[in-house]
Amino acid sequence: MALALVDCESFYASCERIFRPDLKNTPIVVLSNNDGCVIARSTEAKKMGVGMGVPWFKIKNSFLAQGGKVFSSNFTFYGDMSARVMNILEGLIPRVEIYSIDEAFLGLDTFEQHYDLYGFGCYIRNLVKQWTGVPVRIGIAPTKTLTKIAINEAKRLDISTKVYRLATKKDIRNALANTPVHDVWGVGRRLNAHLNKARITNALHLADTDPNYIRRKFSVVLERTVRELRGQRCLNLEHSMTAKKQIIVSRSFGNRVSDLETLKPIVSNFAVRAAEKLRNEKQKCSQVSVFIRTSPFNKRKPEHTGYKTVELLTPTNDTRDILMAAKKALIPIFRTGYDYAKAGILLSRFTNEKSKQYSLFKDPNEPKENTRLMQYIDQLNVYETRIYYASQNINQWSPMKQNMASPKYTTNWHELPIANQGEK
């Protein structure tokens, strides 16, 4: 029994380096939307003591003074690099579960008897690095929870190949003894405190606790973790994504918004995007909620949070219906005199696209139900938006501050990396 977890090392920061050979040993940080917080750090930046999630303004001066380089997030580019890495993995192994933008689980059960799995892991790492420039770490173990521990062990033991396999019982127990319990997959801060009170401080303590006791005292989820730590597989590779239960599109604004005429088109943009996602999921929704709020950090300005849900009698995934509902939710919650810093839309209560539940009463806002029109618009808008709705703001998707983004190296003709052929 063997699974592998492939994890891209400091993924966003590594991507930024691929087409910037001049930044080979430079500390790099990548910031969240609106350049708010640090969301990725290169190894050098971690060594400088830059914490995950720290607000950029707090470290800006010292980080730049020490020669660090900062980037706004460039998700177009990271998404393309991620697709390349996942493509390579899917070409090598038939069973791959893409877990996040920078992590994938590989099913290696049938490989175990034919291959040296550690060697195979090294092969994968070298191939991905050579073909894409992205460095990956690989943990190999009998269960998903243990593959995470294997990757942490590779880090702790400073293994230069960045590939680590937990093969024997002894390897596993040794690794668990060296893993603090809060580093176990699924153990959060609060759970950690409770476990520590019960004298469970490292992963081995947890693995050696009776799973039935854990289920009674904590939860069935943690019981599964215990079993996984003992090498009993509870979490299998998931092939298809489970259907979503809600869709949220929200953004913080780079510049504050205080009038309704500016806010409406932005909320429309979010609604359009949310409706596209909904159709992608092949679902319809019957609740549309909109929220707006002022900045919680600015104590001198008056605060306001508004939230309203509009019920639709007949489920829909037509953008025009969702736009109307969004407007209906936004107008009553908006108040003049406030500087709004964030807005969002939430679609919920889903039903399958195929099923149709008629309302007992006549719906005054009968959904338009023109699925073909939506299909055509979606097809036309695949690579770039060409068809807009009249209520959208087409100049600015959301008032964002992103002044330090790198070029879209792999997806835009005008932003390709440059090879200089001049005298050198």
Binding site: L23, W131, G133, I418, Q421
Partner: protein, 142 residues
């Protein structure tokens, strides 16, 4: 009141947006001699890119590879999965910058331009050189 039946409207009557490559109307007479020979249209991606996950496009700047037909502003197709050999055209990073040159492995490893006006680059000990990938094609636009 008289009603004239004109015809029914169904979804099938709506115009189709996507056409197959070759739409051959059925004639009662002689069939098209070409209908058995339909092929997909030429796809430049398929022709130029063998390994999509490992292929990157890089814009060339300058005249130093003019002898290989790479003009200023040409788009280079760089395949990172192809191991460069002696005489391969490569994109390499040297001293923190990308260059496009021809790789020579003997008698001594160096990067040579295909233009007599430019000097070859010898790799000194301790100099930072990394071959990024092999250039498999260049697109020059006129």
């Amino acid at each position: 009141m008289k009603v004239n039946y004109i015809g029914k409207i169904s979804e099938e009557n709506l115009p189709a947006i996507f056409m197959p490559y070759f739409l051959e109307p059925v004639h009662a007479g002689f069939p098209s001699p070409a209908s058995d020979y339909i092929e997909s249209p030429i796809d430049l991606n398929k022709h130029l890119i063998k390994n999509g996950a490992a292929t990157f496009l890089v814009r060339a700047q300058g005249q130093s590879m003019i002898g290989s037909g790479i003009t200023d502003q040409a788009v280079l197709i760089v395949d990172r999965s192809i191991k460069p050999t002696h005489n391969s055209i490569v994109v390499a990073s040297i001293d923190g910058e990308f260059v496009c040159k021809r790789l020579k492995l003997k008698p001594k490893m160096c990067l040579v331009p295909d233009n007599p006006d430019y000097p070859p680059i010898f790799i000194n000990h301790g100099q930072d050189l990394e071959i990024v990938g092999t250039v498999t094609a260049a697109i020059n636009k006129f």
